[in-house]
Symmetry: C2
Subunit: 384 residues, 2 copies
């Protein structure tokens, strides 16, 4: 076994040993490397009160080799933080949101299909909504996704029945690219009625999961998965959602992570549009009716620029200032509370850092909301 | 003929002698009284460059006696600035908006029906929309108006086919009160297919017009009439509107006059909802789905207080400050440009006045929008 293989197996072991997201596990793997981290966990040489408990159930079960084999058979691969294809920039906001429940970046991603993960970012738009969609919702999700695909956008969704399925199909029908993020193992077809659809998505796009092969879908995994649907896209659109729905949870992630959020209106007589109307009325989501409106959320200046704005040279910034810079989205603005949420800093610390960053010309503020200042003086620096 | 009768006839003459709105005519009548004003106009003793031209065509035609007789026959009356029933408070914003095209208060109002004009104000909600309404729009307008009527609100609209008619009917069906503002003489049934509906409205509510009996409906009169649909209500709701529609004009009046504006969403596939979606997406209107949402626009604090907040004692204020105070709506907030529009002051003057008024504790500002501070230290003063 080559060193690379051993390292990949260690990542596969770590990816299965604790229920994601597990921020301390990532921290350990990044500090001492995945192989030594796996070694410590197998040997149970961990301090109590965190990782020891999180890895207790599965520490002795090493299915890494089988998992990688299962993947290879279905044309899937494990993408880790070692890979050029690791979507580091998209996941930055999650790295910073480590203290919120279910927040935290994935340790690794199991991926099926030819599409590059790093090709997502601002190019991807998540189109989500109720499983119990109306025919109106199905139609609009399909049409909107087709329009987005025709504009060279990747349509991201959750692979579920209803709006998710209509979104994937709309993108495929337009000859475009689409990606499904699952709440179960990459080798599982969930829902089973979408096995054909998921295979078709994987043929040209991407099926993505942070769950090891064999992992079954579960309610809490859907809620955990939703953060990736928000994080990996440049914007999130809710097409239909009832008063309480999973789509509302994805919408909350979009807000928390600073992703622009749109909602499609519908008849006020339709129960499946209540959630969308509430998001718009509460000022949480912008009303969007078509792809133009959605793309305007990502590119308010009208520039057709797929790349997120490149980070500025950050040498000499204080740690709090760095955290605030990293908390700010590539496009759009955040309020102080949102920055505090994403950065994990106290509000007072955020305020102080914002003041300094504004003086240094790195950010812009208006009406209490803050955004990265576009393109600095020096060239872009690639973070991926 | 008693002095009162002579004065009323003079008002009736003035109400017909120039195309409304005619701010200089009102100013003259208020300065020297309606009888002397009528005298000057008949005698053509007016300076050129305004009133002389505005009254040229009809100065010699005095149909006041016949107009009042026609009115009496159909149970209508002429309400003037002499009457306790004159809705002075509601029309204040129009008095101040005299410089904008078609702005300016009516000189008098022809009114048919038992409802009091001063009973409108915050109690009235205008429900408007396209004549070419969809069945969805008709249904929603009727339901919303029924809900509003059941909450003791007067449903105001324009008496037209489509949304207007559905709104009036919805209020009547709920046993509530409704008022129609016409763009033609009070004795005309326009549209003729609504003769029965207008009669029913007049039986329990109000039919209102600033146009003398016999005046025919005309396109520019609809646009002029729309300002009253906005001014006489506590809030305006657009139920359905195409890309270009009369309802958009009423919405613009609502914004200009500081009336809260709501719009009902609909299917994004429906051409008759395009205008509503645009108003919401542009931040011009709040998304409303039912009566609760509409009433929240009027009473954001949840208090069921039908009266507009009483004006504060204004002694000692500079003239510009007084104009700004009068420009601010009873509820809701205005931006500086809107205040400038309503008050007729230059932006710089508005800024200066706002600063002083805030120091004096008479107004509140947040995010660049300004509102009257609720209930002062002293008791309310009645302005009507």
């Amino acid at each position: 076994m080559s060193g690379d293989d051993a390292r990949l197996r260690a990542w596969a072991y770590l990816a299965a040993v604790a229920e994601p997201p597990c921020t301390p596990l990532i921290a350990l793997a990044e500090r001492i490397g995945p192989e030594d981290a796996a070694q410590l966990i197998r040997a149970r040489r961990l301090p109590a009160g965190g990782l020891l408990e999180a890895t207790e159930a599965r520490a002795g079960i090493d299915t890494a080799a089988e998992d990688l084999q299962t993947c290879a058979k279905i044309g899937a691969r494990l993408v880790t933080r070692d890979d050029d294809d690791w979507p580091a920039w998209s996941l930055l906001a999650l790295d910073r949101a480590g203290s919120a429940a279910r927040a935290g970046a994935p340790l690794a991603l199991w991926v099926r299909g030819p599409g590059p993960l790093t090709g997502l970012g601002d190019r991807a738009v998540s189109v989500v909504g109720s499983r119990a969609a109306s025919s109106y919702g199905d139609y609009v999700a399909g049409r909107l996704s087709g329009e987005l695909a025709a504009r060279d956008r990747v349509v991201l969704s959750g692979g579920a029945y209803g709006i998710d399925g209509a979104a994937h199909r709309g993108a495929l029908a337009a000859g475009g690219s689409t990606a499904a993020i699952l709440a179960c193992g990459i080798d599982r077809d969930y829902p089973s009625g979408h096995a054909g659809l998921l295979a078709e998505i994987a043929r040209t796009g991407l099926v993505i999961s942070e769950y090891a092969p064999g992992t079954t879908a579960a309610k809490y995994r859907f809620l955990t998965r939703n953060r990736l649907v928000a994080a990996l896209a440049g914007a999130v659109v809710v097409v239909e959602a009832g008063r309480r729905s999973g789509a509302a949870n994805t919408a909350a992630w979009a807000r928390g992570l600073g992703r622009p959020l749109g909602a499609v209106p519908g008849p006020v007589t339709s129960a499946t549009s209540v959630g969308c109307h509430q998001l718009i009325a509460d000022g949480e989501a912008a009303l969007v009716t078509d792809a133009d409106a959605v793309l305007a959320l990502i590119e308010p200046d009208g520039h057709d620029n797929h790349r997120p704005s490149a980070p500025r040279p950050l040498d000499g910034l204080a740690p709090d200032q760095l955290k605030v810079i990293e908390a700010l989205p590539a496009r759009g603005a955040l309020g102080i509370d949102e920055i505090a949420f994403v950065s994990g800093l106290p509000t007072a610390g955020v305020r102080a850092a914002l003041a300094m960053l504004e003086v240094e010309g790195l950010i812009d503020g208006a009406s209490g909301r803050w955004s990265l200042r576009p393109a600095g003086l020096t060239g872009p620096r690639d973070v991926t």
